[in-house]
């Protein structure tokens, strides 16, 4: 049981939880994640460690409401508890002084890119960050990102803030002016795929963080398998970060959609709570 010491709504369907977890805060590194379960019959869901505070003994999670578990989680308040919290899982990001790097966060992906940008900055890199969202209301942590970046660029689909268009447009622009040594891209699968396509011709190593469906997060079930350079990898223990030029994104997208119909059913069941009426929940 881990106590929630702060709950905040960052934007529509976007929430932040700061949770008590002293040992986790001590061990967490950029790029790692946790698995959360919020109720006895609940699902285990992975979330990136967006921040950690050694002194307070807390970690910060940021999540987007997409289905049943994240919906239920959005109703938790300060003082409530997470039933289960396990981590830090996965391999940390490879942080070195590379020279000039770009950190790209799309949507809720801004949360996981933050600790990576911070670590890269601390290691001496020149960090150019690009964050994007559908519109300006969905952007968050601009100040925190600015603090850890030498340059912060913004893109919104509707042009309500920064460049009108995608983060990839901004990246192309950045690439004409800088010689990038490495790129990190975290966000929706399609965004990561497109970033990898932009950097591929220039052979700039591009790290993406994959978010396949997971169960245990310790390498026991194989649900999280992804194909990287023709090889099967378990994202929870071999990743979640991989070389974006090697990832089979199409496979990853198909696998992520496998339970769509079931997930819809779970949400319907939750919303109606009829206990056996006319809906499809039996």
């Amino acid at each position: 049981m881990n106590k929630i010491i702060k709950q905040e709504k960052l934007a529509e369907n976007l929430f932040l939880l700061e949770v008590e977890a002293p040992q986790l805060a001590r061990k967490a590194k950029a790029g790692q994640f946790v698995i959360v379960r919020i109720s006895e019959k609940g699902e285990r869901i992975p979330l990136t460690i967006a921040d950690y505070d050694l002194n307070a003994g807390t970690i910060t999670l940021i999540f987007q409401v997409v289905g049943l578990t994240t919906k239920k989680m959005s109703l938790l308040k300060t003082g409530d508890y997470l039933l289960d919290l396990v981590g830090p899982l996965g391999e940390p990001s490879e942080i070195e002084n590379y020279g000039t790097v770009a950190c790209i966060g799309g949507g809720v992906g801004i949360a996981p890119i933050y600790p990576i940008a911070r670590a890269l900055k601390k290691a001496g890199n020149k960090v150019i960050s690009i964050i994007g969202a559908r519109n300006k209301d969905l952007l968050f942590w601009k100040d925190k990102m600015a603090e850890v970046s030498d340059e912060l660029l913004i893109a919104t689909d509707d042009g309500s803030e920064g460049h009108k268009g995608f983060v990839t447009d901004v990246l192309k622009e950045v690439m004409t002016k800088n010689s990038l040594e490495r790129v990190w891209a975290i966000g929706p699968m399609i965004m990561m795929k497109n970033v990898a396509e932009v950097t591929r011709p220039e052979k700039i190593k591009t790290i993406v963080s994959l978010n396949p469906i997971m169960v245990d997060g310790t390498g026991m079930c194989g649900a999280c398998r992804v194909s990287v350079g023709e090889e099967t990898k378990f994202a929870c223990v071999d990743g979640p970060e991989f070389d974006g030029h090697q990832v089979d994104f199409n496979l990853a997208m198909r696998r992520a959609a496998f339970y769509k119909d079931k997930e819809k059913l779970a949400l319907e069941h939750y919303n109606c709570q009829c206990g056996g009426g006319s809906c499809k929940c039996q």
Binding site: K41, T218, F258, H269, C281
Partner: protein, 464 residues
Amino acid sequence: MPVKKPRNPMPSQDPKERKQNFREVALGYDEQTAQREAERCLQCKNPLCKQGCPVEVDIPEFIKEVVAGNFQKAAEIIKNKNNLPAICGRVCPQESQCEYKCILGKKGEPVAIGRLERFVADWEAQKVTSEINPVESTGKKVAVIGAGPAGLTCAGDLAKLGHEVTVFEALHTPGGVLMYGIPEFRLPKAVVKREIEYIEKLGVKILTNTVIGKMYTIDELMKEEGFDAVFIGTGAGLPYFMNIPGENLNGIYSANEFLTRTNLMGAYDFPHTDTPIKVGKKVAVIGAGNVAMDAARTALRLGAEESYIVYRRSRAEMPARREEIEHAEEEGVKFHLLISPIEFKGDENGNVTKMVCQRFELGEPDASGRRKPVAIPGSEFEMEIDTVVMAIGQGPNPLVPASTPDLELTKKGNIIADPETGSTSKPGVFAGGDIVTGAATVILAMGAGKKAARAIHDYLTNNS
């Protein structure tokens, strides 16, 4: 000569009914049947049965008490050697262990030792709340990694000796394979929980949601957290795949995922639980061990119309317990023998729809003594399926070894440990169970935990 009495059959749920539910299949003996069965034992002077039991349960001794109706006494005798009798009575491969050696088995049927053991353990659980005598603390701290049968046994024995034991478990529930792997219909989770509560009553602390190698390394446990010794019982949790084309299509599960979703996460009760599972009409389970039988029988209970065991050798080589194979057949699982998949094909959404298979014939015996399957060229054919479960074995989970560089490993990644003491290349660190032997049995894991507990006790008392 008294007339030879036949072995008393196990009352079971009707196959037609039970394949629709997750309740336990074997119902257990009542007192009369147990006593009748116990009377069949010859009380041999030199009981061969005992040699067949990896933890040397005093078999004739406990059976004698069953005959006399002293079930409590019988339970005490078993528990001297075996901390988890309700579990072993249900899942031990008795036909290759204690019952295999029983003298009655030479000409007829052996004494049903496992069923008697189960009866005694269940009787005790219902009738008495066994008293636990507090022991004097030694002031020594032991960390046990993994709450499977190896870790739990080791922890229980060490607590009985007065050591302060903490078990670190990665999942949110202790029990290891007993909770996430072996299905409810074969090993009710209430039975496992009962045995775990007993271990906790002995004073063992169990910390769930704690992955060693991530939350703490072994060195941190010993140097910073004050543990004097460590036992590693992390099991064989890493599922193998075949590395053939199409294996990452949707609908292809490892047995671990399939069983974990169902057992640990309760997916059979979806959407009343939040974790989904998808089972189509035709399910192919690749492999023929206990894990495969469990998956094939689970698939039927989840609503599959057809459930196949696909195995590249013949019936004689199937490694599962006899009883499980029989139960699977009674429930309608079909066996496709001497074939193996070489490729999976899917539809435009990436869901598996077909399996290309190859036929095999048996050749010369291999290193394991089993006849080796040889592929028949040109024998390829397609099988329509929509769900596949890979149950072709599992390897050691690398999280602990990867974070403990001075731990010696085999080529396959298992920890090298002394079979008698469990001691590893790292001083103060012991290991046992599937992480050392590779996937084996509950009772062997428990045996290893027991031996290690004794060795850890020696280590702690000699080192002070």
